[in-house]
Subunit: 306 residues, 2 copies
Amino acid sequence: MTRLIAIDWGTSSLRGALLDSNGKVLEERSDARGILTVPTGGFPEVFETLFGDWMRLEDTRCLISGMAGSKQGWIEAPYCACPAGRVEVGRKIIDIHALADMPGARIAIVPGLSDEHDGVPDVMRGEEVQIFGAMSITGQDDGVFVLPGTHNKWVTVKKGRVTGFRTYMTGEFYALLSQHSILSRTLDASAPLDEASFLEGVTRADNGHGLLHNAFGARTLALFERMPREELASYLSGLLIGEELRTQSLQAVGEVVLIGSSALTQRYTLALRATGVVTRTLGAEATWAGLHALSGFLDTDLRTPA
Amino acid sequence: MTRLIAIDWGTSSLRGALLDSNGKVLEERSDARGILTVPTGGFPEVFETLFGDWMRLEDTRCLISGMAGSKQGWIEAPYCACPAGRVEVGRKIIDIHALADMPGARIAIVPGLSDEHDGVPDVMRGEEVQIFGAMSITGQDDGVFVLPGTHNKWVTVKKGRVTGFRTYMTGEFYALLSQHSILSRTLDASAPLDEASFLEGVTRADNGHGLLHNAFGARTLALFERMPREELASYLSGLLIGEELRTQSLQAVGEVVLIGSSALTQRYTLALRATGVVTRTLGAEATWAGLHALSGFLDTDLRTPA
């Protein structure tokens, strides 16, 4: 029985799963050793520490997605340009011959996707795998897929191929504003989500005055005691997600597929529902299904690092 | 001859000028002791250190604008609601009896302005004085006045009164993004202004995809080496100022009066000129002229602290 070690190796953390030949998860692991924590040349050792025992199981291969394929990662896997489906991405998977004591071991890295809008490039690494997984799980190969996170992705899929996408720094703006701006003095970032204040922010974002102005309202609402301190973080989150939604064309969109942590997909579900858009939500299972769907390419002649 | 000590006491710094009875500047001073550096109850001492020698000149009074009138300042001078002109603001000037060894000294604080949009308050402290000064210098008592800074103000003036204004966190967003975000890794915030990249950012801001998306372009343009590192800060600045301009109604606006530091007013001049709007620029002289214009109220019965 062929097993697959499926890994999403990100900037600040990583997750791995051992899958059986049908893609069923046998075991999961996560770790804080994101690529920024790994010294130059240190990837084989970290990999061995985290997944060496799995690799020594009979007939086991490994496929890695995410920032491990970036310039700062293990091996650079150059971006695959949109439009791209599983086949285009699969053909650009890069083989790694990295482990001295496992010469026959097959470990490979999935490339990210690139797109371009009016001369400005856009990129993703790891999300493409989640999208392929979501298509595999839902059977949906047309539509809009949204992947909330530090750098959110809005992705258009047609006939099983990613035709284009845009990145939004929504998660990073939220962190900057709630931790480092003047707003951090009055809001409680640890307070639980308040749905009413969140949706008030979503609505306010569409008032035509822009984020730079609306964000200041989160300061004055506190100053004039118009909103309780514990609701301000939800309001700010709503302003940001509402700003993101404001620029989307959602009229003709059917169901939106959300892929990510439940804390984030919950917010997008609320905001999209408020505009009349139906959503469906997936979590880590999309990553595992995507890497499983791409694992057939491990039986082909893979590219080697440039 | 009656002299006036005019002070704009801000959050992180302060500026003062000694004016003669005609409002002519005799001497200027600035200092880093903004209100955040002054301990509770410490304002009289800091004032004495910085301006005690001026106060001991014969027939000298003092008028202070800015955050010194906030809750965290010397004495709270409650906001004056818009619409408000010199008379409304002048009548809410607050007297300070603060200096034990100068019992007859007249020192007073100018209130800020408040406005409200759909239940969300907006505030300024100090800018109202600069506007009154600009009106006094230019003779213009109708139009749009823009005060770039950490929290930029766009102000509408009719018949000499501020009828409304909005705050934009443009300066603070620029600082957050250039110093604390992923963009900080690739841009050189100390590089001089590159006008072409700045204006490219201003134009891009109006593409309908919003700041959260466009800001990520400053990352990918660096990643793909499409823009030199030393131009990225100008591009980001253009994206932010363009985002601010995007939400203004500038069709029917005549000359816009810009008040602020030359480093910032230069950028707004470039961006506004690109959209066909004529500008006129004023600096610190607007503050001194505004405080001088309000100084007549020092001869009236002033309010005392609540």
